[in-house]
Amino acid sequence: MSSLSRCVLLSLLAACLSGCRSSANPLPAAAGGAPVGSPPQSAVSVNSILDRTNPLGRDPVSLEDGRRLFLWYNCYACHGPHGGGAIGPSLRDRVWRYGGSDAQIFASIAEGRPKGMPTWGRRIPEVQIWELVSYIRSLNTPNEPDPPQEPASEASGDTKVLTSASPASPHSAAGRQ
């Protein structure tokens, strides 16, 4: 990416952040089941990113957008609903396999990693990757949007529990009505 285009992109971002706060997220809210949309206009060149810090900084709207994208792009499905890890490693701890700076997290998302992390750089817009970086770096900090809640475990609705002591006779349905 030339310095000119980088400049243009940053200007656009700056304009966006000042003028149209939440419009950085082009996704429909909670639309069911649609696959990822058409590819973005420009592919990301990772080499041009490595020396950069997140242009979005710690902007709270970007954090919220990053949280939504984390769900939308199924990041939560591998890294856990709140980034605590599942198939993929935790993003909440202080351990980073491939580095924890803005640029390094950006590179992991954009380039993918060998143990199954997909390559997102050619599939989603650069600004969305930065929003994801913002969200990921907020995990386990006071700035984290929608932090994990302990299970309430409160009773809701009918809580009748069937147990192995319940069935009357083995040869009729347990609880047949």
Partner: protein
């Protein structure tokens, strides 16, 4: 001698061993069979009216469950209730892979075979030499991209022996055959595309030199399938998909489902929204059993994709379904969909245990399926009729099953909604049991079930299909179920459909497999690493040994080359619940590992990841 006969004495060594009596063969055929009711074998130590379809009788362990009927009952009785206290370690093998070791080793002739989790190494131990040294190790070098596609961990549930070869699956979706003597690759067949999330974790089965392989990746929206391969060449013979048109599912004129709800044309298409069946999950990640007399194989399919049921209107056939198929043609004989339009992530890939025993006053050919939905299903395996459905753990999602229609009676208050938690849904999405198997002892007529008393809060969220990423659309948090315990080994009286005794574990689920023996013993392990021998009648713990890591594998037993009985088990925590012990899962986030971290509090101090095989002898 059944096993040897079926293997056809292809191995000269095997025949010599048998001829010399080096392999313990049916030492105790004394208990007489009930007259004329069944052509299945009488089993040493069995109650007179209980028959197993193909019991382990030669001291080997050549297929994943030991026996075709998946009872995991061994007729060996050198180690028994009176001497088990002197059991001690004779060998510890470190495999070098600190991930969940599920499944069981094999023993064929004088060699023990271990399959590790990814990178799926095959290690052969020499049973004829002191210390059981390593003979050779085979490394298939699977694609590391598969690691990130393994929803229940990078596990491998083991191998099967056929015709001089050890056959098993690698996580990156290949089935491979390795020469049992030399450790050289014989053939390698690609089964699926790991880039889309299709992996292989199950242990293959073999019938009549046909290898059966089921796929994993249901939670990635792959299309579930059972693939049959020629054991000699690895050539694919047929593929029976879990979804799609009847021709793909291998449903034809022989298909006779017992229940009306399972009859119709192309239900694998018609019970989905358009095209959704192509990414509908219903993987075949579990066990396959075989009845040689009926010549039918039995297996189940997993949960539909996505988790969010709103993404897939309809009954979603043939997810969460039990199948009977002809092994040669793959054509279906019957199917029973346990739960239409699953909303809880319950699959039906658990073991199907085949037993002939009296039921309602007459001998019947039973299939017993202790399922992840929390019920023990007893079925007539000839017809696919549901005879009994009884909960073995606390259950809130359903009030029972209607035996006349074959349908669950849902508790609608427990259905998840978009953005709103359904609370105290029991069992959790991790199931009333893990994929690790129960064992049935014909000595007692009891099924010994390793159980998880774990409940969940679950809410639906957007389900977005992106190839190669999990296709979920639900958020889950899990915790200990009612009664303030979370794990249990349950002795279940099959004939009376009730619990006889149980051994509870307050803190953790019991995710180990179970082994029963003619010595009156039940072997199983705990999540914090205790390996136990229990009196099968009373539930008294007669012996235990604390291993370094959690036990999620399947204990097995065998007679060594000199006739001495051994017991072996892996000590290496893993699987869905066990993954909470891994360093890259945060303990302070109860949602980590999709709720396992919340349910498994304390596991990181109770035990650590391991990579061990333990072998014990008296």
């Amino acid at each position: 001698m059944n096993r040897i006969a079926r293997l056809g004495c292809r191995s000269l060594l095997l025949c010599l061993l048998v001829a010399s009596g080096a392999i313990v063969a049916e030492q105790n055929p004394g208990s007489s069979a009930a007259p004329g009711k069944s052509a299945t074998s009488s089993t040493p130590g069995a109650l007179p009216d209980i028959h197993l379809v193909a019991p382990v009788s030669d001291g080997q362990w050549t297929i994943p469950a030991g026996d075709d009927g998946n009872t995991r009952y061994s007729a060996l009785d050198q180690i028994n209730t009176s001497n088990v206290r002197s059991l001690h370690v004779v060998r510890v093998l470190s495999t070098g892979v600190f991930r969940g070791h599920e499944g069981a080793p094999l023993v064929v002739g004088d060699t023990l075979y271990v399959v590790t989790p990814f990178p799926d190494r095959l290690i052969a131990l020499n049973l004829t030499k002191p210390g059981l040294p390593v003979k050779w190790t085979f490394d298939p070098h699977p694609d590391p991209a598969a690691v990130g596609k393994a929803f229940r961990g990078v596990v491998d549930r083991g191998a099967v022996y056929a015709d001089g070869r050890i056959i098993y699956n690698t996580l990156d979706a290949f089935t491979i055959a390795v020469d049992a003597k030399t450790g050289k690759l014989a053939w390698k067949t690609r089964i699926g595309d790991v880039a889309n999330g299709e992996t292989l974790t199950m242990a293959p089965a073999v019938v009549h030199n046909i290898v059966f392989v089921g796929n994993s990746g249901g939670n990635f929206g792959v299309r579930g399938a059972l693939t049959a391969l020629d054991a000699a060449t690895g050539k694919i013979l047929w593929k029976a998909y879990s979804t799609g048109p009847d021709s793909d599912v291998r449903i034809g004129s022989d298909f006779k489902p017992f229940y009306a709800k399972d009859r119709g044309t192309d239900l694998g298409v018609a019970t989905w929204s358009p095209e959704q069946w192509q990414r509908g999950g219903a993987a075949v990640a579990g066990w396959i059993s075989y009845d040689p007399e009926l010549n039918l194989i039995y297996y189940g399919t997993g949960n539909p994709a996505a988790w969010n049921p709103d993404a897939r209107p309809g009954d979603n056939k043939w997810s969460v379904t039990l199948w009977a198929r002809n092994p040669e043609t793959g054509m279906a004989r019957w199917a029973w969909q346990i739960e239409p339009h699953d909303a809880f992530g319950y699959g039906a890939v658990m073991e199907n245990i085949l037993v002939d025993m009296p039921w309602d006053g007459r001998m019947r050919k039973l299939l017993i399926h202790p399922g992840s939905a929390g019920f023990v299903f007893v079925m007539d395996r000839e017809t696919g009729q549901l005879l009994s459905a009884s909960p073995f753990v606390p259950v809130t999602w359903a009030r029972g099953f209607n035996l006349a229609s074959g349908e669950p009676i849902l508790n609608r208050a427990k259905l998840p909604r978009f953005g709103i938690y359904a609370n105290q849904v029991c069992p959790s999405m991790a199931g009333a049991k893990a994929i690790a198997s129960s064992s049935f002892s014909p000595q007692t007529g009891y099924l010994y079930i390793p159980a998880q008393n774990t409940c969940m809060d679950v809410k639906d969220t957007t389900a977005n299909y992106i190839a190669g990423t999990p296709y979920l659309g639900a958020i889950v948090r899990m915790y200990r179920g009612p009664g303030d315990y979370q794990g249990e080994l349950i002795a279940w009286d099959v004939a009376h459909a009730k619990e006889v005794w149980s051994i509870r574990d307050d803190a953790f689920p019991v995710d180990s497999g179970v082994l029963t023996t003619a010595g009156g013993l039940v072997f199983y392990g705990t999540m914090d690493g205790s390996f136990r021998a229990v009196d099968g009648r009373t539930g008294k713990v007669l012996w235990q040994f604390k291993t370094p890591s959690g036990i999620v594998g399947e204990p097995m037993t065998f007679a060594g080359p000199h006739g001495k009985q051994y017991v072996a088990v892996y000590s290496a925590i893993g699987g869905w619940m066990g993954s909470a012990d891994f360093p890259d899962i945060s303990s302070d986030d109860p949602y980590a590992a999709h709720g396992a971290a919340g349910a498994m509090r304390g596991i990181k101090t109770a035990t650590h990841p391991g990579d061990f095989l333990y072998v014990f002898a008296e």
